[in-house]
């Protein structure tokens, strides 16, 4: 089994490695209507499909999956999928209060910090559905830039050079 032992936390927000202890709640979140609406795959996922996915990612060294916790309560999920030249990031929030607040930025900042500062990656990409203007604004605030636009989605990228100036400014908001 892959040893995803990364635990990263700041200002009460944590990225906790996905495990058999927290994988069940992830299925409930993934199937929420407002979560599925912004996914490339919007189908309801059943328990056996979810278990098969969990067993696959546990043995895939190129996928790091996390549960996002705020003050020790699960509020969403995040992942990094390592490709040859970059990593793809994925993130959703199941907690509506966090999702609609400025605190939605924190798990994404932590994920990028893990990617650039710990894993020393040089580029992270994110796919955003064209209609998800909030995610486009959200990513742009963190320094993402558009790589390509397709009929239904946009590919965005971020590098340490793009992220670091934004990171300092955003973290200042949470330093209270």
């Amino acid at each position: 089994m892959q040893q995803n032992t990364f635990l990263i936390q700041k200002f009460g927000m944590s990225l906790v490695p996905l495990s058999s202890d927290n994988v069940v709640q992830v299925l409930d979140w993934r199937n929420l209507d407002f979560v599925r609406a912004n996914m490339l795959n919007q189908q309801i996922i059943n328990a056996s499909e979810h278990q098969a996915w969990f067993e696959r990612v546990c043995h895939d060294d190129n996928e790091l999956h996390f549960v996002i916790e705020y003050k020790n309560a699960g509020v969403g999920a995040a992942n990094l999928k390592l490709q040859e030249k970059y990593a793809e990031s994925g993130l959703y929030l199941s907690d509506e209060a966090i999702r609609g607040s400025a605190y939605a930025f924190l798990p994404s900042l932590l994920l990028l910090e893990l990617a650039f500062d710990t894993l020393k990656l040089t580029e992270v990409r994110a796919t955003v559905l064209l209609h998800n203007t909030s995610a486009l604004r959200f990513n742009t605030q963190q320094g993402y830039e558009i790589v390509e636009e397709n009929t239904d989605h946009i590919m965005m990228r971020i590098t340490p050079e793009l992220f670091n100036p934004k990171k300092q400014k955003l973290y200042r908001f949470f330093d209270r």
Partner: protein, 78 residues
């Protein structure tokens, strides 16, 4: 005075007409109110009312009515 300021800040931060800033205006009720706008809103409210909000206040500030209640807790009179 404080109520006018509150309406002005919401209107500017969320980029909406001031007549839409009513107590029932909430995060899930308007497309302009997303997490990015929320961060701008909090920063502008703190500046306009000279307060520093706690993290739980920020997360809880999901409507105009709640904003007024939270600011009142920090000594702002409406």
């Amino acid at each position: 005075m404080s109520n006018t300021t509150l309406i002005d800040v919401f209107s500017t931060s969320l980029n909406i007409e001031s007549n839409l800033v009513v107590d029932t205006l909430a995060y899930s009720e308007h497309p302009n109110w997303d997490s990015t706008a929320h961060m701008i809103l909090i920063t502008d409210l703190e500046s306009a009312f000279d307060v520093m909000l706690e993290p739980d206040d920020i997360i809880d500030m999901s409507s105009v009515a709640k904003a007024r209640r939270i600011l009142a807790k920090h000594g702002v009179a409406f």
